[in-house]
Symmetry: C2
Subunit: 314 residues, 2 copies
């Protein structure tokens, strides 16, 4: 493995005070419903509204003074872009975020709000990569990949490290899988702590599942899921870490994710996005696997548009 | 006053362990937006999803063994019914809840879920009162009024007592006003602690405002507001306590309450109902009054139907 528990411990020290140590919530009703003891790690209450704040701060604060002064760059229309912008702003260095020109205005505003510079490009992989290359060349900024990066993986892993500290005798942890930064971090912690670890993946974006089952890295896939935080393909480092450690990837239909999201909203009164709620759907869909166990579920983010919700009637 | 700080302290001891000591949340973004320091007391994360759990437990546990064994009764299609049902179930005594026959199925299920008996009646004040009288006569149960009751007021006041304990140097507290149980409890605490206290009331259900301004108890009014927890008329005891103590009742249009609700959802990721969000709307509408002050806001409940939300597009 390219990331060790020591790396995650170092990351935890590095980011302390710069991100929230998020709460863990429980719900008697959801425990009854699942016949398990569920512990929800509230990363939707994290800075920038997502666990991505952890990896971004760890990456930015890992770099030497003479490197970081040139700034950092990435491509992201989502939370990583905002998280990196925030981390750079905290350290007082520039950030350059390549954003496709069809990205939502609210996402762009979040990035600009943290003082970063947006580099607009056509919404294709090629345009994104060449825009990023250009800005890195021009500015000398360090490229921080959204997930296929050891500093990012170590940073995201701090969520799991906190969770096992906050919940004694935890038996398993479940995290959503998109690019695999968070799940890889969870795998490192879970292996060292001797607990089980599961990924929850939309059945319409099952590249990680297929990569693990086939032994080949599935890199071309056309995702079709409501979980807009889980569209990305699993990264090389991420797959390497997850393989052999993860107990299983639990494929989950969107309809079940929406039901789980409604349960979290109505029972726990927490606004989470589908990409978060998928972890509860995975528990509900696998009752025998989780019965009577103490399970940690990472609620990764809560960035939803209240005017456009997937519940019936909305 | 019929309720003292000592009564609220006693209530706090009585209900300890039977209700949650709820968290206090803060939001940098909402502080920036309001130029104030806001501390949100999370009663939407309380048992039964509302502060009503406090008063109900205090009332049920205040009664002598030989009285309480006959059970308790009330009329409520809302959270007080569920809260009283739960409190009675905890003490192992029967509860009889008079519910209009047009009440929502989900509300009835909550009450039945706590083992209470539902007494159905026509949706008129007269039918409700005679059904209640009948059940009290038949069973010997003690009637616990939803708000016009000293035990209820003392119980609800424990939310404010906790808040001033959790937030050092709090300067003011704002609570929504419906029947006035919570605001009366807040007034007792605020007066003793020497802090300001405000009620937030929908401008379409302004009976408390008019009662205070006119000096006469306005008892007949036809409320028109999205805040379905604030439809009731202020109680006699409640008005008596609030008068002379409350700094002001801040009337708030529903449109502003909906905007505040969206802010709490998107910025704090908390599912609150309009009757809760009105407290933030009151701050936003009175920027000079609250500027640079440390303000406690009581989020009273989070019982909303995700399929029927007031946001545009839904």
């Amino acid at each position: 493995m390219t990331v060790s528990l020591a790396d995650i411990r170092e990351a935890a020290e590095r980011i302390e005070g710069l991100v929230h140590r998020t709460s863990v919530l429980t719900s008697e009703k959801l425990n009854e419903l699942t016949n398990a003891e569920l512990f929800f790690k509230c990363e939707h209450l994290q800075k920038v509204g997502a666990f991505k704040a952890r990896g971004a701060v760890n990456a930015v604060y890992s770099l030497d003074d003479n490197v970081i002064k040139q700034g950092v760059a990435t491509h992201s229309s989502g939370n990583h872009g905002a998280a990196l912008a925030r981390a750079a702003s905290l350290r007082g260095v520039p950030a350059f975020i390549v954003v496709p020109n069809n990205a939502k205005q609210v996402k762009k505003e979040a990035i600009v709000g943290y003082g970063a510079e947006i580099v607009s490009c056509e919404p294709t992989l090629k345009a994104r990569e060449s825009a990023l290359e250009e800005v890195v060349e021009k500015t000398g900024a360090t490229f921080i990949h959204p997930y296929d990066d050891d500093r990012i993986i170590a940073g995201q892993g701090t969520a799991a490290l906190e969770l096992v500290d906050q919940v004694p005798d935890l038996e398993a942890v479940i995290a959503p899988i998109g690019g695999g930064g968070l799940l890889a971090g969870c795998c490192v912690v879970a292996q060292e702590k001797g607990i089980s670890v599961y990924g929850a993946e939309p059945d319409g974006a099952d590249d990680a599942y297929r990569s693990l089952k086939s032994g080949e890295h599935v890199t071309s896939h056309v995702p079709d899921t409501i979980c807009d935080g889980l569209l990305t393909t699993i990264g090389v480092r991420n797959l390497e870490i997850i393989r052999g450690v993860v107990d299983d990837i639990l494929l989950t239909p969107d309809a079940d994710t929406v039901k789980a999201m409604e349960l979290i909203w109505t029972r726990m009164k927490q606004v989470v996005e589908p990409s978060s709620a998928i972890v509860l759907a995975a528990v509900l869909n696998n009752p025998e696997l989780f019965r009577n166990r103490r399970i940690g579920l990472i609620l990764t983010g809560g960035n939803v548009d209240p005017a456009n919700l997937p519940f019936s009637g909305c």
